[in-house]
Symmetry: D2
Subunit: 394 residues, 4 copies
């Protein structure tokens, strides 16, 4: 059963449904059986990476000429949803690879960047990561300290990036640094001398995903490492817009997985004279969740249509990311509650989703930052910092 | 400005937009100027009734052969939204006339019922009301006490109906009563001897709407008063489904009116160094409201599409009524808060909407009843009353 | 029945209980019978003013030598609670008279001010009002425009004050104005030439209370009108601290009245097979309300103890005002919901409380302003305006 | 710093403060340094058990003649709060030992039970567990399947108990079983043949606590194993009342630990131009948390006073358990949010508290069950199951 109370299925094309069903079958067969063990052990299922490639879910919306699937935005959204039905860490891997690495190479890189990296990244032969956030610059990435200096043959990079998904798995990093005070993007092979990735341990969330700190000490890259197509904070922000689109879809999968598990549990768990599904207090939770999931599905669908029509604005993505992640987190919390004691073990998938979503609500723009993006849209006034703030580039 | 953050406008047809714009212009010109005075004085603007008829908003989805506009469900929804942008009482008048009086006459009445009443009700020459709820039977209408007994020439009706919108304005009442233990509908002219309507006074809500108690004491009607086309509780419930569809659209208009007023106010109200629109606490309210309004719009639009495709189920309508009214009430509350002291007078429309929505969340199925409808949809178990309840007819 | 789930009664002294019971009996006998009619007609029951005086509730904590009751702070709080059990407008009248007029005269006035005004205000022979808020200066009263200029014989006052409770009833106004740029308080008889009070009409809230705009055009007062004992914004703010203390207690009375009404209703209103009090969804509302009322009672009691020990800080009062008013408003909303259709008329007291509390949550420091007072207490950083704000005087 | 916004400290006696400070110092020195490692590894710090004994926190309110500390209820509550400031698992160990094992032995056991077990349990020489919940009987323990049959020399026990804290650490188990259809309690050494404890693995919550399943297969105990002093469900329920009292206090410690950590973080974490503690959206979270913590402290203190006066009712405990655990969980969630990415690692204590509290809100009566206890108190109607339910024994 998939949750589809408003028959959104009938808004999809035949092809979109086929893509979704393919990924769903893959997830059932290849991801779900082992994901809980990976989660508990804090490991990423690297064996799946080439399979993602074969499935066509890496950089899935980019052109076929670079080895990508060239699928539409709604199809892509459905893919993200199916992947996150398994685990946010799985979806995060694919989000980073596609939206934060392949997208900027495609959109801002040179043709050499594209031909060198996109086919390998699409097939899963290579893995990428995205170096924007720094230990002291999260919600304000424009304040980054990482610097690029010109050298005789190219650039020398210095700085520290943190909370970098896939950092220790990556063959290539998109590194954002200030060159003469202007933010620029560099395509940096991770085996370049001076480049170090340190795995962040002791996480309770996204444990089936690799999160890293990147340390760049005198990393020398050639002139060709610079991505020519963009300058300023709008470069990385436009990547985030792509990634947030995928998150807005993906978390619906997590929510649906929790909901279906809790409904099934409640129909079978008898207390007093009947299944707990028959008590009003439990039904009220289901009514709220059904409503919120349905609305999130409509938000994602409409956003996809706007994206396909090339009319999607970043603030529209903020609404979807903020709403849908919050919805998914609240759903996971309610579902865990319905499972009672059984909700605190990894015997049911709800626990992983609950823990993962604590990260997802924070990364790619915290809930509060998206609140202020929307506040600015409504009022025309930026309130991120002081009243003197110039409007925030999107 | 209308709130349309996800460009739902572009999902509408040219004709739907035209209908909406017509009604919007009418509301601006004819309804808004006097509505606050009517509200304060507790009167309904009866002078508008024939104008509603000319505008085509009474029974708007019914066929032209009966003098109706024959418009589609989404166009109808847009009409309801524009009317409720002025006042829930105005929309209530039209909801009752169309969905609760003209719809059952069309769907369940005899051809004589149709030809006698529909043209007059469509033009506003006649007004109707819907007698289902009783003083002691609100959420459980199936328990009604009102009885019909067979007489030599027809039926004799006895009982009391309460919370009846338009009761004192009506020329005709659709009266639901038990005949031999089975709920049946009767078309009863209100000048029939024994029929009395008492206006319910001392309301703080829906003051620009007439709410009545109907007392039926030995009301004799001919055989032909009986509507032949339906038996049982599903008759009145199917009318409520029509009405709730209109409410789910209508309240978005109330919410949008509040939102626009509050945004405008906040951009102009300076406290300390800047407009209050520039403070994070105010922006957080706007972000939440924008999100909820946008989602409610998508819910209404999708529900309309399902209705047009003849695939709309009552539980889907429950989701929309429950979610959208709650959204509108919370929006009105937040907006009143933003207006501070200025929010407690009738100088701004927010106050009327705030007060009206306290009724709208209760009538046509309370919030809690719709919670349990959804709970039953999810779990398959009816929890309205005891576990032995049979599934509720919809 | 009074709500006392944690037996707070046993924390009171014999004398405190006696004071409370006296006022309770007075309210039952003299206030409740007519209050709904006054509310609907938008009038204040002026005939009660001398009775308040006899009862000893005007300026009740001030010394007996000025004709006051000299009661303790907890006794005073209990008085406020009993008065607001009837209507927030009644409590507001007494709050303003005592905390905003008699308190500053006592604390900051000359001995002549005290002997002239306190006995008359205590007996109800005279009524006072408090002129601080201006049309454009609500949350930021320090920005006031009203000015005092020195004249040969005293001062000339010019400015406009708004949202002034008791304005049209008052014999004397405490007017705050800037003299040489410093806020000072003046004791101004309202029959002084140039002083005009305009009643604010068209309110849906606090309708049994008089709210006014004061216009001061070249109001000449003698040198002796100036209150010698305080300078700066801390003068009026310290009055607000007194008034907020009374509000924090008072609104519990409103909440208790709603709760008791709704419990009684739910136990008698049968739907389906049982009283609605027996359904889980209704019980959940009662459980939440009982919890919140009990906590608010403990907050008020503890605050009273701190005040009696002369250790109460303004930020502690902010917590109580903010929490308890919000609690009362949410309680009124839930109770109105439980009453269904019957909740929208003045037949039950819940409606008045619901409407009144929309004002109470705004006046005397809005909910948001108290949020920021608490935020500053926790963090040491003022966030009312820009980061450069100096800490706010309390 | 401890959170004490309403100076509750001054309501304590000198001795209560001393007890608290002793435990606080112990927790700082002996528990906090290693707790995170134990949590990550899923182990309980057994080395602390004798130290708890020396500290006097095991069965702390029981008489000194049995080797216990004989402290008052508020002192005991303060102990629980300090222990849970470290970790809910630590407090759970002591709750179970004291309230669920030593209390029933003291209250319902024979003098032989008391002299045999209480001194050893008080010193930490022995550990106990409480066998009530079964796999299929959580919220409805009265439906338990575990049975005791009379044998020639005593009783034979059969059944399965689940979610048993300390199960694998215990030397003695209090086992509740039906004897001739009546619930009775048995004191069962865990080395009795047929008694097996299985550790429940794969928990994400309460990882520094041992949770077990107990399997009783033909466990033969002598006549003397039966506790003579109680029959029926009120036996175990009265133990739960004791334990819930400790939880209501304990979770305040968890909440305070999170709050202090988040305040400290926010004052030091700079984004844009200032510490995030200076932004309104962050301050709003602190204002809400400060308010809720303060109210929970007042609830716990008042409940302690009622308990010391022997007037505490079980429904009053339900209010405190339900409110305070929910408060603590919401506090942990808000604090994790404030920490952003840093909130998802074990580098800060918030993560452990967040995860633990998902168990604490479920065990010892779920949130929903306590809702219905309060609902019954308010309405007089039991709504746990069907309307025919007899009032629930407390």
């Amino acid at each position: 059963m998939a949750v589809d109370f408003y028959d959104i299925d009938s808004l999809l094309t035949e092809e979109e449904r086929m893509v979704r069903d393919n990924v769903r079958a893959f997830v059932d067969a290849r991801v779900l059986p082992g994901i809980s063990k990976h989660y508990e052990e804090g490991t990423f299922p690297t064996e799946l990476i080439p399979e993602f490639g074969k499935l066509g879910v890496l950089g899935a919306t980019l052109p076929e000429k670079y080895g990508c699937a060239g699928m539409g935005d709604i199809a892509y959204g459905l893919v993200m949803k199916e992947l996150e039905r398994a685990d946010s860490g799985i979806r995060s891997f694919c989000s980073v690879q596609g939206a934060l690495v392949m997208y900027p190479i495609y959109a801002f890189g040179s043709e050499e960047h594209r031909t060198t990296w996109l086919p390998k990244l699409a097939s899963g032969e290579a893995v990428g990561c995205f170096g924007l956030t720094e230990p002291d610059y999260g919600s304000n990435p424009g304040g980054m300290i990482t610097r690029a200096e010109r050298t005789a043959t190219g650039f020398r990079l210095n700085g520290t990036k943190r909370w970098i998904t896939n950092g220790n798995l990556a063959d290539v990093a998109i590194v954002w640094a200030k060159l003469d005070g202007v933010i620029r993007g560099f395509v940096v092979p991770t085996n370049t001398p001076g480049f170090t990735a340190l795995k962040i341990e002791r996480k309770f969330s996204l444990r089936a995903s690799v999160t890293s700190e990147l340390i760049l000490e005198d990393v020398d890259v050639p002139e060709s490492a610079l991505m020519p197509g963009v300058q300023g904070i709008k470069g990385p922000l436009s990547c985030l817009t792509q990634a947030r689109f995928g998150i807005a879809w993906g978390v619906i999968g997590a929510a649906e997985a929790c909901f279906e598990c809790a409904v099934d549990y409640a129909k079978n768990r008898v207390q007093f004279s009947r299944p707990i599904a028959g008590y009003q207090l439990v039904q009220a939770k289901f009514a709220d969740m059904l409503t919120e999931i349905t609305k999130a599905q409509l938000v994602a669908w409409r956003l996809g249509k706007l994206k396909e029509a090339k009319q999607m604005r970043p603030d529209q993505v903020s609404l979807a990311k903020r709403n849908n992640v919050h919805m998914a987190l609240e759903t996971a919390r309610k579902c865990r509650d319905i499972l009672g004691g059984n909700g605190i073990t990894y015997d049911y998938p709800i626990s992983r989703h609950l823990l993962n979503l604590e990260t997802v609500i924070t990364y790619e723009g915290t809930h509060d930052i998206h609140t202020l993006v929307l506040g600015q849209s409504v009022t025309g006034i930026a309130a991120y910092d002081s009243p003197m703030d110039p409007p925030r580039a999107k």
